[in-house]
Subunit: 471 residues, 3 copies
């Protein structure tokens, strides 16, 4: 059993496993580079952070977990998820925890089950299987740890060997917590990421208010497309001063297309009045992706795009609980035609890097690897969201690397809200890489020396280099 | 060789194989739950059923087999398939059998070859490879068995340990054979399934006659959309009285969309006159899927949809031989947008289950698993048709379970017309499950206790629960 | 290490590996049938061919290699690729070679790296890893071999055991080098393939001149659609006389659709004036695919289609360097609907074979295998381009064979410009087949006798039979 834990996620073939283990040994203790994720900077701004209960830590922020429970008939109210209208939800966290443990069997075979298991064992020192029976004693054990000083986020940051952690922040964010972290003199490196979705997506609820807020924080009175662009550029400068090396952009599809300034202005004005159509949104986002790429060419910020999620698919959940509630569903993507206008302008730029994330695995081998294997500006992000998993990684390696190599990828990022799960996620990736590389070795595709180099590149160097985090 | 047969379909890695074998031991003798298939109820209505020849049993009803032979230049006439015009086809079943055996090499590596091989060995006790040379002696051996009393369908039913068998029946079917089975006092449980395609798809040849027939069997004079709906509801009540727990619906695409009653009426009237267009069919089917879901919410019948087949792709084959002649070709599917109108209305219903089957494997990880991993009403059917195979099952497990878990799936169903192949098909599934679960165990994803539970769930419980067959 | 080389690309499971080795032994020395590729016939027309430098041999003609280098910021000029405008590019081939070797790590895990490694070892006798350090000594070693008489293309042809090699030639080609090969009395069999893309794709630059050239070589004054068709038929006769057994056709999508002669004429006339639109091109290509199929039914030439490449995606590269410069990107394909008009007319023809190649792997199991597993006229080509790789082959086997069997495939072809890599490519295929078949054996799907037969079919017979190369 100990051996099984130590060699988890490796091939059961003894030859491959031995090589995998050796490759893993070479990377398991490397620092963690976390260039994209959703950790709340408040955790690290506060020297005495209060984690709340095990449910606050592990359930309420984790849409992977409550989506699965919801799919089996457990209402989000019963899991303590806050309602937008402030209506009553379950407050008894011991009861919620019991409900979760009673249904933990639902997660058999899922990434959530192994992230939680590995985190409990490796971070909390709790090596027990989650069951109905031990739910309350587990709760006690986790709760006790949470209130110990070694579980303070800053302590964990060092214990996790995080070299750098990037958060994801709205364009209108004042980065108050990042400022606080800097001012505190603490040694951990935490950088923001510029994510202007709420002022780019003209269908976002409250778009005019978001623009109003943009005016306020930028000090530029945004009344038209030109001042809008100027304000975005101002914010980027501010983020860069605060340590940002990257931007991030979500879009339902990868469409890009240049509008005339007149067209852009016209849509922008409709959006301010709340009159923008779905087609306006498509065109404006497609235009802005090119414009944001242009800004990246100018200011050197790495550009990330996350494409393909149909957000808030379940209107009941959206109305009652809001965004990011486990009701986002992937859709088919197309990049070869859609990305061409942007690539025609900036695909050859050597000082520009565009990292692509997407939720349609069929484009890995068909479009993304061929594109990244040609255009100097492109890099492929690691498998995202539902595919941040053992099988998702295997499919990614098998479909991407033969055409793009590993050096047109951006290494790994954990993309997580769940701070204590960061080491488990990197460890899964490192093990999956080691096992895949071991497969290449025992099949005679690469030699063991190259495999060791590749393991380090995939675990550490590629993320650091791609996101310009070498300093 | 004996060992190879006993451990067929298991990994060749000794560690994984040992676990697979142990998991398989725990499920191989469980009863068979068959909640969806196409067995003719006449087989079981008749105490002295005449199977006909080995060709009647194994070739003529099996479009998997004659499609492959046709693809290599053998005309269906030469295989004894009846022509719609009553024209002459090959009558010499020994000659047909010889033709099949002469070309049996075509099936190397296909599911048909292993189903037939496993059925011959396990059901008929014939452990010989099919070749040109032994064609006639095989014919003799099969023929002899077919005419023995132990091969009577009801005998086989018990020998196969079938706990329940659902047939698939037109909405206008009087269920005469089901009535006969019930009346006979025989202990086997055989239930119908309500499949109203011929009165829902307005392009179906003879649509008006089908509606006329609906009037007759329902006792409701169907003259407009309202009486049409009433007649469907009447038939559902009748099917339910006859033991049905489920309905089934085929559609080329997953489109759903509510029509006004006026629009629905208008299309229905055009259809009665034979004037419905392709667009009418798309809209009416999309509307009826929602309406049929509404009926399921009301009467509790499980709803199945089979999406994505381009039926009767080869016009020559359709004109000469009719439907279901191996000329159905899958097409790309989309669920995230298409299913939303239905899910907006009924996706959260706890007393409603919609089981999705489809023929586009790219939607497993991209759309189906995320949808089923969120919406309480959704379950995923097992891999269908061309994917009811070892590789099809592996891809299904690898693409579905990480996101949806196994508890948002509907277990297995054999979906077969070929009654004697039922045990071979369940056995293949059980072995494939055991091997996949063994992989999870040796990779340290689940422990062996959980794997045993999951094996039983996948082999038996999930189908029984999902289709409400617990009684 | 020697063992690893001998058993490269086989499973690391000892059981499977042993069977794979045995299957491979049965096919490794079979002659090479090369029914589709892009070798320049000049190589074999000339008794004293000058290969030029190692860079002329291995880098400049290989878009797999320079695309990857380009993706990492190395300009094609620096790799000695000729510019259309005749502008200066790097001329120092030793310097180019050093650049390539300095960046050879980029190819880790790619097919290029194993093709080059295997070719150097097996053809050149150079068993060294490519590194920065040994770049110049490798250059010397390759250069020396290239100028030895044993490296003359005709010598290699026999050493490689090439039974027949098909080139790919424009419809307007006079086949002068094929004539020269014939006239020389040399025993090697080299045949042309009729590829009329430049006179079928009405958007091709210089379309009118291409048609003018067609008039000249055919001796038919092409002024309208009818004379155009007559000229194509004349060229096909000529190619057939010169030994051709096949035609080949590229198209961005698989669309087929019959035009009236009047519509075809109208588009053709617009094309001659340079006025054809993108829609004209789509319709005319779709029409001509049917017309070319009709010609194949008449003259017996095997028809190949290569579907799904967005050619010359990077406008800068196209303007500066021209076609086939590593900037072609795959797109999604659809066959079920698109191919129906062609199949309705010729899908049942027994004297017609249409071999489908495509770049969208999602259609393997969903559309191509079901179509090829039904229509007598269809065969599936081996995995193409980016998928001519270990993983590409595995995915192809796993997705195609269960539904179509291997006997609806066309065996292997190397599709290469890189003459010295031909044995390495066939060897990779043979090893991949052996390993996949060994998997079927150890999983109890086929027996070892069948696997041996299948191995020979896949390595040799299927290509020979499908392309009518038995003589």
């Amino acid at each position: 059993m100990t051996q099984l834990i130590e060699e988890r996620y490796f091939s059961s073939d003894p030859g491959q496993r031995q090589v995998a283990r050796s490759l893993y040994e070479g990377v398991k203790d490397l620092p963690l580079v976390c260039p994209h994720g959703h950790v709340d900077p408040r955790l690290l701004a506060n020297e005495n952070y209060d984690w709340g209960t095990p449910v606050d830590l592990l359930i309420i922020p984790d849409h992977y977990i409550f989506r699965m429970l919801y799919s089996q008939g457990i209402e989000l109210d019963a899991l303590g998820i806050s309602r937008k209208d402030g209506g009553a939800v379950e407050q008894d966290h011991r009861k919620i925890w019991q409900t979760v443990c009673d249904h933990w069997y639902l997660f058999r075979g899922t990434p959530s089950s192994v992230w939680v298991r590995d985190s409990l064992r490796d971070i909390f020192g709790i090596d027990e299987k989650i069951t109905s029976e031990n739910a309350q004693s587990l709760y006690d054990a986790i709760d006790a740890k949470l209130h110990s000083s070694e579980f303070q986020p800053r302590e964990l940051f060092h214990r996790f060997k995080i070299e750098v952690l990037a958060t994801t922040d709205a364009a209108t964010d004042t980065l108050e917590y990042h400022q606080k972290i800097r001012a505190s003199g603490w040694s951990g490196r935490v950088v923001p990421t510029f994510r202007p979705d709420a002022v780019v997506n003209v269908l976002m609820e409250g778009y005019a208010q978001n623009i109003q807020r943009l005016s306020e924080v930028s000090g530029i009175d945004v009344t038209d497309y030109r001042s809008y662009i100027a304000a975005l550029e101002q914010r980027r400068r501010f983020f860069k001063e605060m340590g940002a090396t990257a931007t991030d952009h979500a879009a339902p599809i990868a469409y890009t297309g240049q509008l005339s300034e007149r067209e852009a202005e016209s849509i922008f004005q409709r959006a301010l009045k709340g009159d923008a159509s779905a087609e306006d949104a498509r065109l404006f986002t497609g235009h802005m992706l090119i414009e944001l790429a242009r800004m990246s060419v100018d200011d050197g910020l790495i550009m990330q795009t996350h494409i393909g999620s149909y957000r808030d698919h379940n209107p009941f959940i959206f109305e009652r609980f809001g965004r990011d509630m486990g009701a986002d569903i992937p859709t088919a993507s197309e990049f070869t035609h859609n990305l061409k206008p942007l690539l025609d302008r900036f695909g050859r730029e050597k000082n520009f890097t565009l990292i692509l994330f997407n939720l349609d695995e069929t484009v890995y081998s068909r479009e993304l690897a061929p594109l990244a294997g040609h255009y100097p500006a492109l890099r492929l992000g690691p498998p995202w969201w539902f595919y941040d998993s053992l099988n998702g990684m295997r499919r990614y390696f098998e479909n991407v690397v033969e055409t793009a190599g590993i050096y047109n990828t951006a290494g790994f990022n954990d993309d997580t809200r769940a701070y204590p799960s960061i080491p488990a996620r990197h460890d899964l990736w490192r093990r999956a890489c080691a096992d895949w590389l071991a497969g290449l070795v025992v099949h005679g595709v690469v030699d063991e020396d190259d495999a060791h180099e590749m393991a380090v590149d995939m675990a550490y160097r590629l993320a650091k280099q791609t996101y310009k985090l070498e300093q």
